[in-house]
Structures are given as structure tokens and as C-alpha cells.
């Protein structure tokens, strides 16, 4: 049972951050299907920092540098989307898909090259081990093993929610996703706001990526990417109707199912049901699809998302 809670917390933390990232991007008007790729870049950068830091580095140094690296890498990779979709008005679905492929391929190439050069040509794997780094994030509260990652995620959730509802910046960002012409008519720079939205999604997505690989594991094979976590976050975002507080509890709900698939054998009454773990994996997607069908008439998807903004065409 404790294991279930631990897994749920970790998955929820990942899903909350990445889904919030998707939310900021879509609220500014850019559909971000590249969350998966952003996570991979964030995860890779974070993991490499953990590997590179000397073993005597203090816990705080490891935590801060890892998080910063992941966030920066996520933001840099999100620029691929921003430049193509905002400046060049490229198809947002195509670009998102391309970023995902780009991420997995380049992570594999980079990590392999990294390993090769560090091992003087004996290690060709796309695997990174970061046991020290992983341990640096752990805190024990009684029997429960909590990670700093979860605390960071919780803080960011609170900040995002306040930011989303209470700031001038977020008000403007949301206006750009709904009615960019209206925003423009009151002197708001729509392009800049959309850049901000995409970069925020890079920031949060990158952090989500490092949590995904480092909170429960001390090693990761980068040729697997992040195994659909980005897409699950997208489902969480839709399920949460593009609102931070709803995203939070949707993420927890989805995380429970995801954890059940991992640990259902360990809980007696669930094990007796003999449901394959995969079914639990499938469940969130089925539920999202049905919810989408029922709510699509009054769905709260930002009205102008997916439509490139052209200042000339008024």
C-alpha cells in the first residue's frame, strides 16, 4: 500500500507539471504535442548533470543544478516549437510530432556519445546511472519515502495556480489563446505572449521529465524516451479542462491508475481480481475519450489554439 502511495505521488507530480506546461502553451494559443520530446530533453540534461557532478557534491548542489539543467533544456527544446509555429506558422501537429522523434533520436545519440567518450570506447549504451543523484533527492518520513521532486512539484503547482489566476501576465496570455485580435487591439504583443506560453511549457515539461526518470529509478535507458508520459499529461490537461486546480486532481486520478498497473500484484485484494496491469494503463485514456465526447459541446479548449496568428489579416 505504501508503495502504491509512493508511485502515485511520483506519477502525479510528473503529470501535474507536464500537464500544466501543456496548459500554458495551449492557453496562449499553441497546441503542444511535443511535450513528450520536451520531457526527454529535460530528463537527459538532468541525468547528465547528476552523472557529472562529483560524488562529494552536497545534496543541495545536486538538487539545484539538476533541476536547473532540466528546466533549461526543456525551455531550449520548446524553442523548436515556438520558432516554427509562431514565426513560420508551421502545422502545430506536425511540429509536435517531429519534436518527439527528434528528442528520442538525439537523446540516444547524445547519451551514447557521452558514454563512449567517458568510457574510452568501452560503453556504447544509451543508459545513464545516477545512483548518488537519485539518493540525494530522497527524504524519509517514517515508512514513507518521499522525494524532493514531489515537494518541488507541489510548490510549482501552487505557484502556477496563483500565477494563472492572479497575475497580469497570465491574464494577457489567456487572452491570446482565446481572442488574439482582441488582445492585439488593446496593445498586447500576441507573438511575445505565445513565446512565453511555449517557453513555460518547456520549463515545466523539462522538470517533469527529470522527475519521471529520477524519482523512482536510479538508471534510465534513453532509447525508450519517456514511454508516453507526455501524451498522458496531454490527456490529463484535457481532462482537467485547461485549469490548474482541475489538472491537479485529474493528475492524481490518472496517477492512481498508472501506479495500480505497476503494483497491483502487491496488493492482495487487487491481485485476486487477476486484472492484467495493462488494463489499468488503458483506463485513463478510455475515460478521457468518453469525457471528451460528453463535454465536447461545452469544452473549454482555448478558442484560438492551433490557429497561427497573423497580424496582417484582421
Amino acid at each position: 500500500m505504501i508503495l502504491l502511495i509512493q508511485y502515485t505521488l511520483i506519477f502525479a507530480a510528473v503529470l501535474i507539471l507536464v500537464a500544466l506546461g501543456g496548459m500554458f502553451s495551449e492557453r496562449s494559443g499553441i497546441i503542444n504535442l511535443g511535450l513528450e520530446g520536451i520531457m526527454v530533453f529535460g530528463a537527459m540534461a538532468g541525468a547528465m548533470v547528476m552523472v557529472l557532478l562529483p560524488s562529494h557534491a552536497s545534496k543541495a548542489t545536486i538538487i539545484i543544478l539538476t533541476l536547473v539543467a532540466a528546466a533549461v533544456a526543456g525551455m531550449l527544446s520548446s524553442l523548436f516549437i515556438a520558432v516554427a509555429c509562431i514565426n513560420f506558422k508551421a502545422d502545430q501537429t506536425l511540429i509536435g510530432t517531429a519534436l518527439n522523434m527528434l528528442a528520442t533520436a538525439s537523446a540516444t545519440v547524445i547519451v551514447k556519445a557521452f558514454n563512449t567518450s567517458r568510457s574510452d570506447g568501452t560503453d556504447f549504451s544509451a543508459k545513464l546511472d545516477y545512483v548518488t543523484g537519485h539518493k540525494a533527492f530522497l527524504i524519509h518520513i517514517g515508512e514513507l519515502e518521499v522525494s524532493w521532486f514531489i515537494i518541488v512539484a507541489a510548490l510549482l503547482l501552487i505557484c502556477s495556480t496563483v500565477f494563472f489566476y492572479k497575475t497580469k501576465f497570465a491574464l494577457r496570455l489567456r487572452a491570446c489563446g482565446e481572442h488574439p485580435q482582441a488582445a492585439d487591439s488593446v496593445g498586447i504583443n500576441v507573438y511575445a505572449m505565445r513565446y512565453a506560453g511555449v517557453l513555460l511549457s518547456g520549463f515545466l515539461g523539462g522538470l517533469g521529465g527529470i522527475i519521471y526518470i529520477a524519482a523512482a529509478n536510479s538508471t534510465w535507458h534513453f532509447d525508450y524516451g519517456v514511454a508516453g508520459a507526455g501524451f498522458l499529461a496531454l490527456a490529463v490537461m484535457i481532462f482537467g479542462q485547461w485549469k490548474p486546480e482541475r489538472i491537479a486532481w485529474s493528475a492524481v486520478l490518472f496517477a492512481v491508475f498508472r501506479s495500480l498497473s505497476n503494483v497491483n500484484g502487491g496488493i492482495d485484494f487487487l491481485a485476486n481480481l487477476h486484472i492484467p496491469g495493462t488494463i489499468y494503463n488503458m483506463f485513463p485514456y478510455i475515460v478521457s475519450l468518453i469525457v471528451l465526447a460528453l463535454t465536447s459541446k461545452n469544452s473549454r479548449a482555448p478558442k484560438a489554439e492551433g490557429i497561427p496568428y497573423d497580424k496582417g489579416a484582421r
Binding site: A84, F88, D91, L94, A105, L292, A293
Partner: protein
């Protein structure tokens, strides 16, 4: 405007040029990456990728064998891209091809290994599975107005997990190796009839899949351009409102398009797995074939025959990675190049815009939505 447009102004020529620009830029960036990784061996590495199986030029048998393997592996890629471009012509972005392909794998392997059906029945099962997956997306789109991209993504994952359950069972999967059984050992009847295997250095995986792929592309070309159905689909894709004005049935066409697109994706899976060249292993993420198909479709200029060329090119590059000297580079560099090319495909509109520079109206329509803009432009000028 009364004159025939010059060669470089023709939309067809521009599409080809834009794709070639993407490919060349992608290869250039790839070379830069090789340079960054290992400057002294970069040229050698690039040559290996581009030279590919042609390095076996001493032995025509070996050469043809590897050429055959490239063709076999290009088949599902080309078919997936046909599925995507078909839907795209009707204004639908069928990102669900990945899932439709996956359930196609499920149906073809389950019917062949567990049920012992013969090959053509297995193909039908795969088509049916893909079509059903497409139908569900189409139904949600047409009836509930759920965006087909979102519905497609959900269906991809549902399809993946379902496939893992079905193919993970003892009947289909060898539990010791975690791979599905070889079709040859379980049910040779399910293998596709071979085709020109002798010509291709006795490559046992050379099957009718090859000619069939070309036939499918031609059929799609005919359907899109010569039939009333294709006429409707393209009209809807170009201008939804005009299609409505002309009395076309949007609901029916959306569902039908995605059913056909899904059917092709399912078919693609059977054309690959029923050659016996590969076994399915439980996957934690949706097979990339459908996503690569998006790339090929765009690189091929969204043309059924263009997709064949683009598919062969992409597969050639991907395979090229294996010819790299692993002491200096790793094979995924080729995947990276492919991903860059796809990313660059997003800029096709921009490239075409550059080519049209100086021309008064530079709006080449790739997206159905741009229609609206031109209309308002006109209105403004009429004031």
C-alpha cells in the same frame, strides 16, 4: 496571369523542390552533427550512410539482398504515409495511424499464430482492426465533434495496451524470449506469397507486399483524382463550406475517410509482419511507424506516388545508420537526421513562400483554413 506559369511557379514543381530542400538541409545538419561528434571521421561516416548497401557492389547477390531488405522495411512506412495523406486530403490529421497500425499488428499476428488462418484472411483481419480503430476516431469526430488528433492520440494508447494484452498471451508469445513466435514455425500458410525472391539475392522476405504497395498507391491516386468519392473528399479538405453548399454529406465522409485511412494502416502492419521478418515484442510506447508515416507523407508532398519515393529515401537513410563505424558513431544518427528532415517539413509553406517572392499573391494553400484569410483580404480591398 493569362500566361502559363513558368516552370518554377508551378505548384507541383515547387512541392518537389521544397521536399528536396528539406532533405538536403536535413542531411547537412546530420553532417554537422557527425562533425561535432568526431571531426576526423565525419566525412567517412556520412559516406557510409549515403553509400549504404551499395558498398556491396562486388557481389550483386548480396547487394540485391540488402536492397530487398530496404524495400521490405519501406513497405509499412509507405503504406502508413498513404493512410495519413489520404485523410489529410480530406482535411483530417489522422495521427491515430500509429494506433491503427498497432492493432493491425495485433490482428495479423493473432490470427496467423493463434488461430492459424491463412495469409489473406489475416490481411483482412488486420484491415478490419485498423478500420475499426479509424471508425472510432471518426465517430467521435463526426458525432461528438472531438478533435481527431486528440481522439487519435487516445486511441493510439488504448490500441497499444490492447495489443500488449492480446499478443502477450501464451498462444502468441514465446514467454522465454518475450517475442511472438515465428510465423514460419507456427503457421507457414500465413506467410505472404514470395515475389521475385530470386532477383533479390534469395531474400525470403521479398513478398507480394512490394507490388501491392505500389498498387495501393496507384489506387489511392485514382480514388482521389478520378472518382466522385475522391472529388468529395478533396473538396471537403480544401473548403468545407463549399462542400456543404454543394450538398455533400460531411458526417458520412469524415467517418468513411478515417475508416479507409485506418484500414490502410492496419493493412500496412500485415504487409510487414506477415513476411515474418520481425517479431513483436511488448512495447511501452506506441510503435513509431505511424509517426514516421506523417513525416513521409509530408516529405512526399502529400502525393501517393511522392510518398513511395519519400518512404524509400527515409528508409534508406535509417538503414544507413547501420553502416556507420560504431567505434566513432552510433546508428541513431540516421534517425536523428530523419527527425530533422520531418521538422523541416513544417517549413515547407515558408520555402514555397520564398520561391514565390515577388509574386503578388504568395498564398499557396496547404491548409484548408487559409481560405478564410483570402476571403477577408478580398473584402478589405473592395471597400
Amino acid at each position: 496571369m493569362e500566361k502559363k506559369p513558368s516552370f518554377f511557379r508551378r505548384p507541383g514543381v515547387q512541392t518537389v523542390l521544397a521536399s528536396i530542400i528539406c532533405a538536403i538541409l536535413g542531411i547537412l545538419v546530420g553532417f554537422l552533427i557527425l562533425l561535432a561528434m568526431n571531426p576526423s571521421h565525419a566525412v567517412e561516416g556520412m559516406t557510409a550512410i549515403l553509400r549504404n548497401f551499395l558498398k556491396y557492389d562486388q557481389s550483386s547477390t548480396t547487394l540485391m539482398y540488402y536492397f530487398g531488405s530496404t524495400l521490405v522495411k519501406a513497405v509499412p512506412l509507405i503504406l502508413c504515409s498513404e493512410a495519413i495523406l489520404f485523410a489529410y486530403k480530406a482535411g483530417l490529421f489522422n495521427i491515430g495511424v500509429a494506433g491503427q497500425y498497432t492493432v493491425g499488428i495485433m490482428a495479423s499476428l493473432y490470427t496467423s499464430i493463434a488461430l492459424g488462418w491463412s495469409w489473406w484472411l489475416c490481411i483482412l483481419a488486420a484491415i478490419a482492426a485498423g478500420a475499426l480503430w479509424g471508425f472510432i476516431s471518426g465517430f467521435f469526430k463526426a458525432v461528438f465533434n472531438v478533435n481527431e488528433v486528440i481522439a487519435g492520440i487516445m486511441m493510439n494508447w488504448i490500441g497499444l495496451y490492447l495489443t500488449n494484452i492480446v499478443l502477450g498471451s501464451k498462444k502468441v508469445m514465446d514467454q522465454s524470449t518475450s517475442k511472438t513466435y515465428n510465423i514460419l514455425s507456427k503457421n507457414p500458410d500465413a506467410l505472404l506469397p514470395s515475389f521475385l525472391a530470386n532477383v533479390f539475392g534469395h531474400n525470403q522476405y521479398m513478398t507480394i507486399a512490394l507490388p501491392v504497395t505500389v498498387i495501393v498507391a496507384i489506387i489511392l491516386l485514382v480514388v482521389l483524382n478520378k472518382t466522385t468519392f475522391g472529388y468529395e473528399l478533396r473538396a471537403t479538405g480544401h473548403n468545407k463550406e463549399a462542400a456543404r453548399y454543394a450538398g455533400m454529406n460531411a458526417t458520412r465522409n469524415v467517418i468513411l475517410t478515417l475508416v479507409i485511412s485506418g484500414g490502410i494502416a492496419g493493412f500496412a502492419a500485415s504487409m510487414f509482419y506477415l513476411t515474418g521478418i520481425e517479431q513483436y515484442t511488448l512495447a511501452s510506447s506506441v510503435p513509431g511507424m505511424g509517426f514516421n508515416g506523417i513525416a513521409v507523407a509530408f516529405l512526399g508532398g502529400l502525393h501517393p506516388i511522392g510518398a513511395i519515393v519519400a518512404g524509400l529515401f527515409i528508409e534508406y537513410l535509417t538503414m544507413g545508420g547501420q553502416y556507420l563505424d560504431t567505434n566513432y558513431f552510433n546508428p541513431q544518427v540516421a534517425d536523428l537526421m530523419v527527425a530533422i528532415i520531418i521538422y523541416l517539413c513544417g517549413f515547407v509553406l515558408f520555402f514555397k513562400h520564398l520561391m514565390n517572392k515577388g509574386k503578388a499573391k504568395a498564398l499557396t494553400n496547404v491548409n484548408a483554413e487559409t481560405e478564410e484569410n483570402t476571403t477577408t483580404d478580398e473584402k478589405d480591398k473592395e471597400v
